[in-house]
């Protein structure tokens, strides 16, 4: 099976809240001293693909749409033994999901025939969670979201996908090709690349395509979607003591207070 895994580079979401700042004019997060890292759900997606390949064979191509520096997340994918890596160069910051989906779709078509495209369920920076669905639309294939694993199916040209739902899980069978958005699960915790593979990752070939090569107009990077306002919500904490003569009276007063608060939210 040919699997394509989409990988996004994001600002490290683990930085201390104190160090996180946003530029409210440009409507984007400030880089500050934060590292750029691989989006965790993309790592889960790659791990899912690696496990599938280990069991069933096949080929994994990692693709990212981003600036030159996004090469790093692809190098990491190569260190984890993705077979190939493609970077679609887009220097526009905060390109919107539809633009990214169109770009990735063009890149994936250029890579060649595929059976499954795995993407993270959402990115840890904006958390929009739209790229997977939009990408499926662009590629004209079905999409299964919130999947935690991928299994072969007895039927040829099909896969079994286990997806999480609000009430439990579903096991679906789908014809390939398809797009699957991957969520985290104890079975797809990303493995740690081994030292030798890390060293070799920067020696492996990595393909770079420009937007022009894919026929994508860079000026459309922010034309489908607009962030109207970006701010860090201010958290205010207050400590209030509930009084009352008896325990029941205190509980009653407390319950009223909580409902009042919820109403005013």
């Amino acid at each position: 099976m040919n699997i394509v895994v989409c990988i996004k580079q994001i600002l490290d979401p683990e930085i201390p809240a104190r160090d996180f700042r946003v530029d409210s004019v440009k409507c984007e997060a400030e880089r500050g001293s934060a590292n750029l890292v691989t989006n965790i759900f993309c790592e889960n997606a790659l791990e899912t693909a690696l496990q599938f390949r280990e069991a069933q064979g096949g080929k994994i191509t990692a693709i990212s749409c981003g600036p030159e520096g996004a090469e790093d997340v692809l190098r990491k994918a190569l260190a984890l033994k993705a077979d190939d890596a493609v970077l679609v160069l887009n220097e526009a910051p905060n390109a919107d999901p539809l633009f990214v989906a169109k770009t990735l779709a063009a890149g994936i078509r250029k890579i060649g025939p595929f059976d499954a495209v795995l993407v993270g369920r959402e990115a840890g920076d904006w958390g929009a969670g739209q790229t997977g669905g939009l990408l499926a639309e662009e590629l004209q294939v079905p999409c299964i979201s919130f999947a935690e694993n991928l299994q072969p199916s007895a039927a040829s040209g099909a896969v079994k996908v286990k997806r999480q739902t609000d009430s439990g899980w579903e096991l679906l069978e789908s014809a390939t090709p398809l797009v699957i958005t991957i969520t985290n699960h104890e079975k797809n915790v990303p493995r740690i690349p081994k030292t030798r593979d890390v060293m070799q990752s920067y020696r492996k070939p990595l393909v770079k395509w420009t937007l022009a090569e894919l026929g994508i107009d860079p000026s459309t990077a922010n034309s489908y979607y607009r962030v109207a306002e970006l701010f860090i919500p201010r958290k205010e904490t207050q400590c209030e003591f509930i009084s009352g003569d008896t325990l029941e009276a205190k509980i009653d007063a407390f319950a009223h207070r909580v409902t009042d608060c919820m109403r005013s939210m």
Partner: protein
């Protein structure tokens, strides 16, 4: 694949003036994940038990490729440049305590460098390869009850009997000593002579006559096992000798340089970590209506120490550059080691002070750091020994 080829591809250094490339950066990230998954969750438990599962942990580290970074691929190493060892040393400061970095450091940079450099192919296949894989735990045994700083006066002897050495004596304060599968032993192979009569010999610990006579209790680094070892007519093949007979002292002195560099760099990273933690603590802690950090004495002192840590780190990188040129860095490594020993004592003292009573409590990492860091001025050559070496290089020491 050699790292030199890697550099040729033009991957830029991520820290200017060092040998760290982006691949090193990615390597650091893997080390961090390894520590967070395989070491830190168990640190408290291991400290309390005064023991860690060396075979289990080293196997995992070996599988990950962490135990033979700069050793040849022929023996399972990664064939990497020494900057990988340095990156590892820095990242190991993330471990919650000094015990495991010390135990790992013994395996990778203290007990094995001489074997790698001077050992025969057969000896390396038999002992280095399993150490790199993590299938064998090893120790370096130099110190004796009667000879620590004065290495030249060790008394453990290895007498030749046909194709074998017969070893008698004892060794003291040996890291990994309780769990080791083999020991890199410095013993006297020619009686009566001074430093010229010594050899490094590999002794498997299942050889009859070898015994761990005592597991020692310590001030710090509790999770690491430290042992007193006894050799009672222990017979090993002469082929277990590393390199030439009589060269052991010289090899050991060279081996010490790796140890000193790696431990100094680790000390710099560890000191920085504890300083950053202290800064956070002082930001959050209020006294007399303002955060502690707003007292000039406190932020000046912390700033000064951070600056000194940076000097130390840069000195270690400087050693790395000298090593890259293939030159001797004994002088600089000794300076770094001296500075590291002195600096961590100061950092531990000041940071604990700024934590107040909390610093004295076991529930905070501070107390452990205070205990563990004290070793830096003693192990791998005490501060005064470093002073002696540097004084010699500088021509200040009086002629003997």
């Amino acid at each position: 694949m050699a790292i030199d080829e890697l550099r040729e591809t033009g991957t830029e250094g991520t820290i200017p003036g060092t040998g760290f490339t982006k691949a090193h950066q990615l390597f650091r990230e893997s080390v961090r994940r390894f520590i967070d998954q395989e070491i830190n969750p168990y640190m408290d438990q291991w400290e309390e038990a005064e023991m860690f599962p060396a075979h289990d942990l080293f196997k995992k580290a070996g599988d990950q490729g962490l135990l033979g970074l700069s050793y040849p691929e022929e023996y399972g190493g990664a064939g990497a440049d020494y900057w990988y060892n340095m990156a590892l040393a820095e990242e190991l400061a993330r471990v919650k305590g000094g015990a495991i970095p010390m135990a790992l450091g013994v395996q990778t940079d203290m007990a094995t460098p001489a074997l790698n450099q001077y050992g025969s192919h057969k000896l390396k296949k038999k002992f280095l390869e399993p150490a790199i894989r993590g299938d064998a735990v090893c120790s370096i045994a130099v110190t004796e009850a009667g000879a620590g700083s004065d290495v030249a006066s060790i008394r453990t002897k290895a007498e030749r009997d046909g194709d074998e050495y017969v070893i008698n004596g004892s060794k003291m304060f040996i890291t990994n000593g309780v769990q080791a599968d083999w020991i890199c032993l410095l013993a006297r192979t020619t009686p009566g002579t001074t430093f010229k009569g010594m050899s490094l010999i590999i002794v498997p610990t299942d050889t009859p006559g070898f015994c761990v006579s005592k597991k020692l209790k310590k001030l710090g680094n509790w999770a690491s096992d430290t042992a007193e070892l006894v050799f009672d007519n222990v017979r090993v093949p002469v082929a277990n000798r590393i390199g030439e007979e009589g060269q052991g002292f010289i090899y050991q002195m060279q081996q010490f340089q790796n140890e000193r560099l790696i431990s100094s760099l680790g000390a710099a990273a560890g000191a920085e970590k504890i300083l950053r933690m202290t800064i956070e603590y002082c930001r959050g802690r209020q006294t007399f209506g303002k955060p502690l950090i707003e007292n000039q004495w406190i932020y000046f002192k912390l700033t000064e120490l951070i600056s000194e840590v940076e000097f130390l780190r840069q000195m270690c990188y400087h050693c790395g550059r000298i090593m890259d040129r293939g030159d001797d860095y004994t002088r600089e490594a000794s300076m770094a080691k001296l500075k590291a020993g002195r600096l961590v004592r100061q950092v531990a003292d000041i940071c604990l002070q700024f934590h107040g009573g909390m610093g004295y409590m076991e529930e905070y990492p501070m107390a452990r750091y205070f205990r563990d860091s004290r070793l830096m001025s003693i192990g791998a050559g005490a501060d005064e020994i470093m002073l002696g070496i540097i004084a010699k290089f500088e021509g200040i020491a009086p002629a003997r």
